[in-house]
């Protein structure tokens, strides 16, 4: 325990130790330098054998073994930012239809707080037609006709609950396990725990569909207090896949190599002197960036895919789209990327205009993702990758069975407010049971009545499939071990085969 505290204190101290501090404390500073150079002689890490790069054992992205054998080698997390309406997609509530346009009973409103609903709203019946599909008989609406054919591959979680009803905090909670800033994202935890299998690509890649970025900003793929090498690398499907990855005019690859080598030599001395883990991050990021100059354009180029694949996904090379990102996710997973995070946007169906109407704009959003998600599942399946890739789909919360009445007024379009108490997510692949529905909401889809799943349970389950005991994947910070699931989290055993 105390050894860990000392280690953490040293790392913290190293983090705050700038050149200015060094000059201020010149006398003690020089003493420390002298001491470390003396101690350097017995430094186990000071010798390296791989051509000026960092010693193998020190590369923070080296692959590491999980706690127990994993079922998932990779994760593709599809996040519909803005929160899709479960009541128009998966959670079929015929009773709600009967209550359509009636005033919401007081009992549902007592003691509740909504983001926009004020006074007494009207109930809003489902705006889609539902049917049961597949051997499992799962309910899917006609908003997702292609995905309806995949229900026997997935496990639905119908009673997911969160405790945040605003986008930013809820997205942070969903991806970092805390509604406040500063915690590492799921992908960062996974990369910290497993490293990267492909040394030419980052372990954690983020793809956004263009348009709006998530309300919570880049923190949803940040590394928090983990070394920054574990943060998600955002790649783009349009233009340069990674910003500033091409060499500027007049800089050839050889010169680039030599300058990176020189910088890393200096950084290695820096590390030997101050043991700051961020220096290691910097070294490995330089090395990785150099390798990525070759590897990324290749893997991010979808134009070489056959016509059949483009037709399947509905992809158009050169465009920024969710479909392109789905295809990229498959390609990245094929190349050994551990965690691929997709963010789509525009799901915030309040009904303020036609784009946010549950019967218009949201239906268009469903059409945009329906084919590509189905294609992703089918493509992973035919390549034998679905067996070892965990696919997770969801938003940051759900939507109310009541029609939104912003400021107590009737809205021009049909919309639903944010709802944290019950919403639907699904998982597929990598040892997740096929054709299972777990959890149930009441007859109008307002509260979860059975099989409730907390956000930390989702995290615990993702980590479980990757071979981690979520209670043991920890990092020491501020004097105590932190984990993705904080003090909660139960593996959802019901959906694991």
């Amino acid at each position: 325990m105390s050894a860990k505290l000392i280690k953490e204190a040293n790392e913290q101290a190293a983090r705050y130790f700038s050149r200015r501090h060094f000059l201020q404390n010149c006398v003690t500073g020089l003493g420390a330098t002298a001491l470390t150079s003396l101690l350097g002689g017995c430094n186990l890490f000071s010798s390296s054998g791989n051509g000026g790069g960092m010693p193998q054992s020190l590369n923070p992205l080296d692959p590491k073994a999980p706690h127990f054998p994993a079922r998932a080698r990779s994760v593709i997390y599809l996040h519909m930012a803005g929160a899709p309406s479960q009541l128009e997609m998966f959670d079929y509530k015929p009773e709600l239809q009967k209550l359509h346009n009636q005033l919401c009973p007081q009992s549902l409103l007592e003691g509740k707080k909504f983001a926009f609903i004020r006074g007494v709203p009207k109930m809003l019946g489902p705006q889609a037609n539902f049917k049961q599909h597949g051997q499992s008989g799962a309910w899917v609406s006609d908003y997702m006709p292609h995905f309806a054919g995949m229900v026997d591959e997935v496990s639905f979680l119908k009673a997911v609950q969160t405790d945040q009803f605003n986008h930013g905090p809820a997205q942070l909670f969903m991806h970092t396990g805390s509604a406040r800033l500063g915690r590492p994202s799921t992908g960062a935890w996974v990369t910290y725990g497993l490293g990267s299998e492909n040394s030419n690509l980052p372990g954690f890649v983020v793809l956004t569909s263009g348009g709006k970025t998530p309300d919570a900003g880049k923190s949803v793929w940040g590394s928090g207090f983990l070394p920054s090498v574990y943060q998600g690398v955002q790649c783009r499907s349009k233009g340069d896949p990674v910003l500033y990855i091409t060499d500027p005019d007049g800089m050839d690859r050889d010169l680039r190599y030599q300058s990176i080598q020189a910088i890393n030599e200096v950084n290695k001395l820096e590390y030997e002197a101050f043991s700051d883990p961020e220096t290691l991050s910097r070294i490995s990021q330089y090395e990785l960036a150099y390798k990525m100059q070759i590897s990324v354009p290749g893997v991010m180029d979808i134009s070489s895919e056959p016509a059949y694949i483009h037709e399947l996904y509905g992809t158009q090379p050169g465009k920024e789209s969710f479909a392109n990102n789905c295809l990229l996710a498959r390609k990245l997973v094929e190349k050994g990327v551990r965690f691929v995070q997709l963010f789509d946007w525009g799901w915030d169906a309040h009904g303020t205009d036609e784009h946010t109407a549950v019967d218009l704009g949201m239906r268009n959003k469903c059409r945009e993702i329906d084919k590509s998600i189905t294609a992703l599942l089918l493509d992973l399946k035919q390549r034998g990758l679905l067996d070892e890739t965990l696919v997770v789909w969801g938003g940051e919360f759900g939507r109310t069975p009541m029609q939104e009445n912003r400021e107590g007024k009737e809205m021009p379009f049909l919309g639903r407010d944010h709802h944290a108490e019950a919403f639907t997510m699904w998982m597929a692949g990598a040892g997740i049971r096929k054709g299972v529905t777990w959890g149930e909401t009441d007859e109008i889809g307002f509260s979860a009545v059975k099989g409730q799943v907390a956000v930390h349970d989702i995290h615990a389950t993702i980590l479980q499939q990757l071979g981690f005991d979520h209670e043991k994947l920890t990092y020491h910070f501020q004097g105590r071990p932190f984990r993705l699931t904080d003090v909660g989290g139960h593996v959802i055993k019901e959906i694991i085969s």
């Binding site: 073994a65 994993a70 089918l378 035919q382 034998g384 379009f413």
Partner: protein, 474 residues
Amino acid sequence: MTILLEVSQTGWGLFFGRFHPVLVHLPIGMLLVAFVLEALSKHRRLAILGAAVLPVLIFGAVSAVAACVAGYLLSLSGGYDDGALALHMWLGIGVAVISVLLCVLRRYTLFKKSWLAVSGVMVLLLSAAGHYGGTLTHGDDYLTAALPLGKKKTAAATLTGPPEEIKVYDQLVRPVLEQKCYGCHNEQKLKGGLRLDGIKHIQEGGENGPVLKDSLPEMSELYKRLVLSEDDDKRMPPKGKPQLNPQQVEIIYWWIAQGASPTATVKDLHKTPRIQLVLESLQPSRGGEANPFIPEAEAGAPSEKDVEALEAIGVKVMPVAAQSGYVMINAINAAAFGNREAELLLPLKSHIAWLKLSNTQVGDSALAAIAELPHLTRLHLENTAVTDAGLPALAASKSLMYLNLVGTKVTGKGLQALHQNKALREVYLYKSAVTPAEVTTLKQRMPRVKIDTGGYHMPVLATDTLVFRKEKKS
């Protein structure tokens, strides 16, 4: 006996005796300084220091005598190994005597030439007395245990191996006693005349009688004292010393209740729900159900040399889990990996469970080597030069459950060979040369195997291109 003991445990003698650890450090410091001053004063320019020797010496000698008296009083309380105690006592007395003698020699300026030699002998005695004193309080391996060179003693924190085979005394009870009790109940320091470092000694008990009462933990001192109030004098370990945690107390209780057997294993004893929880918590986490792609039998750690041979050519070799001897191998960064390199897999034969050779140069002849891996469950050969000619070898791969042949030239004819493989569960054939008719035959011959030839299509729907908009007012 008990009455006598009570008296001696609270007398003034013991009270002063307990000052021994405080007092001993005075002569150690003083006499050492006296010796150093003596030696330095030999130097011409430092001769003046000679004047300081006598006062320091007198102070040291007086404290040495006081330490001896206190030490003797302390020794009366008992609980120490007699041999080591005697040695420490006589060495201490020796130090006191020689320091007094040196005072006399110095005071009356006798045998001036012998002063340095005599003080040298005194320092040697002092060191020896100090060392044995340390041995008495801390045990004889206190120093060497911290030596970084020696073999480390490991206290079993988590247990490996099948839980039913755990030896209750050796693997559960003894580590607890070692950690929390041996310090005062060992060969040198027998507090209460009791040694706990060995089943024989535990059975013998201490000066107050046996500590085990057959199968009755509540009547056995070994358990009873663990749960007394912390302020109770009889509480063990005494107030201020590291205490047993509830799990450890539960282990002791269960062991005594089950007859305190020196040899029994977990499966021999009746398990209460409480001990069941304790035992589970000691097991390394397996995280739910066992992974179907990992053999049940454990494997030892692979040889580092064999792993390095593969890593040298850019192949990643990873244990499937932190405590596992099985490895997963991925040649994703070794595109040049070919048939010759496949030979490097053979030394790791008994460890390889998952093998990813997608997009490498391996061909049919590599499959002969791969078929020799007895625990291989998952094999990726996507986009390799593997053809029908190599497949018969895989028929003999006895654990193979997952086989990925996407993008290879294999045909239904070659795949016929695989029907002899009884372990196989999934075969992926997308973009291979298999025809639909051949797939039908294969599926009939291998009903238990999931054969996926891919090439999926989605129906074209009117809604695929339908954009929903606000209805225009007519």
